[in-house]
């Protein structure tokens, strides 16, 4: 019950403090992009913007807008998780671990989307790279990443534990006859 309330509070906090979340997300993107590129990377937390390709002929800045953040993708997961815990407290631990995994996937996928953009801009140049990265490939990464996160969440949150499988199913009316 307490965890369910905590999840609702977290969901509300994501809405209220989405700027702070986006700042953290762009900082993380800075670490990821730095590890993947040799050219200069600078993160402006206050502007939620990451600059990359510094020192190269194609420097570029990407802003983590409310449309690009993973914050609002986490929101439904948190609320569904809270609902499940309220309705069936016995699944609290399973839902909590499923949420952790799904949230990690959502955050990772968004980082992967940023990395895809960086890679395409480096490869195809500023115009074409951004064009394809921000439209087609970015959307593909979001959709398939979102699907993976959802499947993982549902599977992990609803699967039966080993103990439950060992105990078998409760007797049913037909089998008692």
């Amino acid at each position: 019950m307490l965890l369910a309330a905590g999840l609702v509070v977290m969901a509300a906090a994501l809405v209220v403090f989405h700027t702070a979340y986006r700042t953290a997300e762009v900082m993380l993107a800075g670490i990821v992009v730095r590890s993947a590129t040799s050219s200069g990377v600078h993160v402006s937390g206050g502007r939620q913007t990451i600059y990359f390709g510094l020192g190269s002929p194609t420097p570029f800045g990407l802003r983590m807008t409310p449309e690009c953040t993973s914050a609002f993708l986490l929101l439904p997961l948190l609320l569904i998780g809270a609902g499940m815990i309220l309705l069936r407290p016995a699944v609290t631990r399973r839902v909590a671990s499923a949420l952790l995994v799904a949230a990690a996937v959502v955050v990772t996928v968004n980082q992967l989307r940023v990395l895809t953009l960086v890679g395409l801009i480096n490869w195809l140049g500023t115009d074409r790279g951004y064009y394809w990265g921000h439209t087609f490939f970015g959307s593909m990464v979001s959709v398939f990443g979102g699907a993976v996160a959802l499947i993982l969440f549902v599977w992990l949150a609803t699967r039966r534990s080993r103990a439950e499988r060992r105990a078998g199913e409760p007797p049913r009316p037909g089998s008692e006859h």
Binding site: T65, E67, L87, Y131, W132, H134, L150, T158, P170, S175
Partner: protein, 466 residues
């Protein structure tokens, strides 16, 4: 609204729309697989059971005689319990004539007559009246030494225009269905009997009415059948209003003190399934047998029917706690049922959320047309195409599937055409969900009977408002 709050609204609604679209797309991908992999299963022996058809009727003179003759001819050992819900037309008289009089009368045809003010209170009440009559009749027969185990008696609900396939009872007697003592109820596939017939008043071979019927056939035989098959894995196969077969012992177990297995919501068939599942029974579904019913040609009647179904689903939200606290329903099953019950509510959210980015874009286009046009031609059109495809594909896919699996006539392009039309058809639910909500808020819970195609007249309520 300043720029940052605009950005926030846009980001929030886009994320919500993306989540809902991805959830639906994933769901459709998962349900298509078991549907395409299905192979017919060996039938059982119908004579191992006793079968009783319950046929609720209200002003069904147009169809009841043919239905009764068909059922008696196709299933000669089955009993027909025709429940006349105080019809204003000749329904009861036609049934009496069919039954005959004196020593030569047909003992397998039973007429149950309800009278106002206790009649016309809903299909569930009519079915309960049929159940109680059947129970009394069985009690009297048992007293004469004809006792039969209620596990071996199956109650079949069909509409007054229903045509179960001749193999229906044998299929339902199979090992994996009523042959399994844990199975309390079975739902068979539903087909539209008039899927290849244009409306009587149609002047061309194509008409809106015949397309509407085709879409109803596609919906039941492809999309709904796939959903039901996937529910085998979640243990939550639901019951429909036509072609619904329930073991008498299962009905007895959920009937309660007032001997009413069917409850009062507008979706009494789904409600029965919930009661059976939470009582520990399993439910089954098969496409190896089917029941044919008349599809609706009239858009107005179709919208009225779907409003009633949407309102019924909304009413059934009261079962969420019961479902989640049942030890017989797994968490996956409970999640699936919650998803089903959330559908009309998600459609309401969808009608608000989905247009917001477009409204904002429209406003911006009026203010800065050149900038927006450049943005669209610079690549935003790909975004629209991608999200549009993901929004429509889960519906379009059913067209080619239906064409390939159910009605292979004409070229494959016909299947694509079916799919595109189905995508438009499905969006009518966004209208009916709002109508359902309005009725719910106004407390209008009466049952507007969906009139047959041959019937004339308006859609006035024929049941008392509660």
């Amino acid at each position: 609204m300043n720029y940052s709050s605009l950005e926030f609204v846009l980001g929030f609604t886009q994320a919500l729309a993306l989540t809902m679209s991805v959830a639906f797309l994933t769901y459709v991908c998962l349900i298509v697989v078991p549907y395409l992999r299905h192979k017919p299963v060996k039938s059982g022996d119908a004579t191992a059971f006793e079968w009783h058809f319950l046929i609720p009727c209200r002003d069904e003179e147009a169809v009841i005689s043919d239905t009764a003759r068909y059922l008696r001819g196709t299933f000669p050992r089955a009993h027909l319990w025709i429940i006349d819900d105080d019809s204003d037309d000749r329904t009861a008289g036609l049934v009496r004539r069919l039954r005959g009089r004196g020593p030569g009368r047909d003992e397998f045809v039973h007429l149950i007559q309800r009278r106002r003010p206790r009649a016309r209170t809903g299909k569930g009440d009519a079915l309960n009246a049929g159940y109680r009559s059947l129970r009394r009749w069985l009690g009297a027969r048992n007293g004469r030494g004809g006792a039969l185990d209620p596990d071996r008696i199956v109650v079949v609900v069909v509409d007054a225009d229903g045509r179960p396939s001749p193999n229906c009872l044998d299929v339902c007697a199979a090992e994996h269905l009523f042959g399994n003592p844990e199975i309390g109820a079975v739902q068979v596939d539903v087909w539209m009997s008039n899927r290849n017939d244009p409306p009587r008043d149609a002047r061309r071979s194509w008409s809106l009415g015949s397309t509407l019927v085709r879409m109803q056939d596609l919906e039941f035989r492809a999309a709904i059948a796939a959903i039901q098959m996937s529910r085998k894995h979640t243990g939550t196969i639901s019951m429909g209003g036509n072609g619904q077969l329930t073991r008498l012992s299962a009905l007895d177990s959920v009937a309660g003190r007032d001997k009413s297995p069917w409850r009062g919501s507008l979706l009494e068939d789904f409600e029965l399934g919930v009661h059976l599942l939470t009582a520990g029974w399993r439910t089954g579904f098969t496409v190896d047998a089917h029941v044919q019913q008349e599809g609706l040609y009239s858009v107005r009647r179709f919208l009225a029917q779907r409003t009633r179904w949407g309102q019924g689903t909304m009413q059934c939200a009261r079962y969420v706690r019961r479902i989640w606290s049942s030890r017989y329903i797994t968490t996956l099953g409970a999640a699936e049922m919650l998803y089903y019950l959330a559908q009309p509510w998600m459609q309401l959210i969808g009608t608000i959320v989905y247009p917001i980015p477009f409204v904002l874009l429209g406003i911006r286009m009026m203010r800065q047309p050149e900038q927006v046009w450049n943005w669209i031609t610079d690549g935003a059109w790909i975004l629209f195409t991608v999200y549009g495809s993901f929004g429509l594909l889960p519906f379009i896919i059913w067209g080619p599937i239906y064409w390939a699996r159910c009605e292979r006539k004409g070229g494959w392009l016909r299947g694509v055409g079916y799919g595109l039309t189905y995508a438009v058809y499905i969006y009518s639910f966004y209208i009916t969900s709002w109508r359902a909500l309005a009725r719910l808020l106004l407390g209008r819970n009466g049952w507007a009977k969906t009139r047959r195609n041959t019937e004339r007249g308006n859609l006035d309520l024929v049941a008392a408002e509660t």
